[in-house]
């Protein structure tokens, strides 16, 4: 039994003038303790919504379907009430841009102690001590606990947010673009820290990002999302060297190569609208290798290698035959 398994997750948002936006369309993946999974895609592809849905952090105009199995138990069964007890204690999150993720009028220490006391992990002086230790663990002096968030630099704030996320010793850590808006040196430090923490604490990590080098550095496996669905998923090496979905291939090609050996290729066109049902493959209008079945029939995820799946007609027998 895996630690966290997501099965056929759907999320819809009510639109102000009627209708629904189908933001997440049947996403599934799993992680085990100590594993690091990347969730990659352009902005708007649904990756943030997906991980928010894992913790039930959706707004009132959202509808969710599917299962989120934590140690076999479906925490999303009824909604807010079944998922709330697991928040922070089992699944914790680090948000994008800790600028605002920390309450500006309360000390960092208070904010780390808060979930500890809520979930009965520790109280009072013991909790405060643990908070200081957590801060030390992420590279902030313990005295920082009595400081306010605005007194820290961006990188330190993100580390404080990380310490806060680990306060209740969760089994799964969700990180939403944790290093965007930080400068490169700080980025590298935070990413190293994530890897170290995941290894030492046997923490499962799901890292959401649009930045491929980040995924390459941190994760062993990744899932590429497009238009609310998973286009391809597998070991990061396989995705890089043997992509089985044109979008994955183009994504990697679109990343500027530090050595300047490859031309930067940008993907023309825009992602499809999600407020209407999509016919055929959602990537087809921008795909450079689309053929007959693509505009007509939606490709399903199928195995294309060891622990490697992709949703593309090019992987079918017909394609081999035709190609």
């Amino acid at each position: 039994m895996t630690l966290l398994e997501v099965r056929d997750l759907h999320v819809w948002f009510d639109l102000p003038h009627g209708g629904e936006l189908h933001a997440v369309q049947g996403v599934g993946f799993e992680v085990d303790p100590g594993q690091r999974l990347g969730l990659v895609g352009e902005s708007g592809c649904g990756k943030t919504t997906t991980i928010l849905a894992l913790m039930g952090l959706l707004p009132g105009n959202a509808t969710v379907a599917g299962s989120v199995l934590l140690d076999g138990e479906d925490i999303l069964a009824v909604g807010e009430d079944t998922v709330r007890p697991h928040r922070w204690k089992d699944v914790a999150m680090v948000f994008q841009g800790a600028m605002n993720a920390l309450n500006p009028v309360r000390t960092v220490g208070d904010q780390i102690v808060e979930p500890m006391e809520l979930h009965g992990i520790a109280e009072g002086e013991a909790a405060r001590r643990s908070a200081r230790e957590l801060l030390e663990m992420v590279g902030i002096p313990g005295s920082g606990a009595s400081r306010y968030p605005h007194e820290f630099s961006g990188g330190m704030r993100q580390r404080a947010a990380l310490a806060m996320a680990l306060a209740c010793q969760p089994q799964v850590l969700l990180a939403d673009e944790p290093t965007t808006a930080l400068d490169v040196m700080v980025q590298a430090q935070i990413l190293e820290m994530l890897v170290a923490l995941s290894t030492e604490l046997n923490l499962a990590l799901i890292l959401v990002t649009h930045d491929l080098p980040v995924v390459a550095q941190v994760c062993e496996r990744a899932a590429v999302m497009y238009a609310g669905r998973i286009a391809e998923a597998g070991p990061v090496d396989a995705l890089y060297h043997d992509p089985r979905h044109p979008y994955t291939r183009l994504l990697f090609a679109a990343t500027p190569d530090l050595h300047g050996e490859r031309d930067v290729v940008s993907i023309p066109g825009t992602p499809p609208r999600l407020d209407r049902p999509i016919v055929g493959c959602p990537f087809q209008p921008r795909c450079d290798r689309a053929f007959e079945p693509c505009p007509v029939e939606r490709p399903e995820l199928m195995g294309v290698g060891s622990n490697h799946i992709a949703a593309c007609h090019l992987n079918t027998v017909a394609a081999w035959n035709g190609a």
Binding site: L57, P85, A92, F95, A101, P115, L118
Partner: protein, 320 residues
């Protein structure tokens, strides 16, 4: 204490503003054309002796500069002159009037704040629903009605239950302290209620706006992610933060409220400082008018300073 230099700086500014206010007060009443004080022919009770006494006291025979200096000297001694109406010292009359206004305004304001905060929070919580729209519309409506009209409406509706004029019952002879207190309180009801109704609309809208702002902040999502119950998140994170700008706006508005009670005091015949200003105008009682105006300006400056310092104290992000 954090930022004592900030406190000193702001207090310094306030004092400068006070000084400027005093000077402008002088200019307004003495130096402008249509000079009220010197144009004593407009003063109804002006006997020749009174005119001479006034001329002597205000030094009206001297130059404007000298008058200004005399004015400052007198103020420093706490002397704002003698009221034309009853020859009482302006300062003691003003003290009495201010003491009448403040409890009434305070009561009304407290009610308005409570009402405004409750409706504002509920509106923000249930944003977009029928309840929210209704509450916002009502707040705007009360905000739009003319104050004196609201006062009159209350009279029309509640005249049978509450006294509609004055601060005390003139027929109540030799009341005990308790009886006097009850008497004043019951007379205060309608005016305070009017204050509350005029004010609460503004507060509802401020609170609602501030709450909506904080409810969209990331730290609220973080708090929710920690597993806190929704109401705890609201109370401990959203509300606390929303109150920062709200409290300061409220503090600032208090200054103007004390000044603006002229309408309510006129309708209800409440002997407060607002009404004193109005009576002074009709009686051409210029020392009284000048004194009252200065006091009201000082009240505004005071509350602005208080709001400033309060915000500084509450928000750790503000350094100098």
């Amino acid at each position: 204490m954090r930022g004592i230099d900030y406190v000193l700086k702001r207090t310094g500014f306030a004092l400068i503003t006070v000084f400027v206010a005093i000077t402008l007060n002088f200019v307004l009443f003495r130096a402008l054309p249509g000079d009220a004080i010197t144009n004593l022919s407009r003063v109804p009770h002006a006997t020749p002796q009174l005119k001479r006494a006034i001329a002597k006291e205000f030094g009206l025979d001297k130059s404007k500069w000298q008058q200004y200096v005399i004015y400052l000297e007198q103020l420093a001694k706490g002397n704002m002159g003698i009221s034309y109406e009853d020859q009482q010292p302006v300062v003691s009359k003003l003290k009495e009037k201010l003491a009448n206004t403040i409890p009434m305004v305070a009561l009304g304001t407290v009610i308005a704040i409570l009402l405004g905060v409750v409706t504002g929070v509920i509106s923000a919580w249930r944003r977009g629903t029928y309840l929210d729209n209704l509450s916002t519309m009502t707040a705007m409506a009360f905000y739009s009605f003319p104050t004196q009209w609201l006062a009159l409406m209350l009279i029309i509706l509640l005249a049978g239950f509450f006294p509609v004029s004055g601060r005390t019952d003139v027929f109540l002879l030799n009341p005990s302290a308790w009886q006097h207190f009850k008497d004043v309180m019951i007379h205060m009801t309608l005016p305070a209620l009017t204050v509350a109704l005029t004010l609460y609309g503004e507060y509802t809208l401020i609170v609602r706006s501030a709450m909506l702002e904080t409810l969209g902040e990331d730290y609220v999502l973080t708090a929710r992610a920690k597993g806190l119950k929704p109401w705890t998140v609201v109370r401990r994170h959203a509300f606390r933060n929303a109150m920062l700008p709200t409290v300061t706006l409220m503090a600032i508005s208090l200054g103007y409220i004390v000044a603006g009670q002229i309408l309510i005091e006129t309708v209800f015949g409440w002997p407060g400082i607002g009404r004193a200003v109005f009576l002074a105008v009709s009686e051409r009682d210029f020392p009284m008018l000048q004194g009252a105006f200065l006091v009201l300006t000082l009240v505004v400056v005071f509350f602005n300073l208080a709001a400033d310092l309060l915000y500084f104290r509450l928000d750790p992000r503000i350094t100098t």
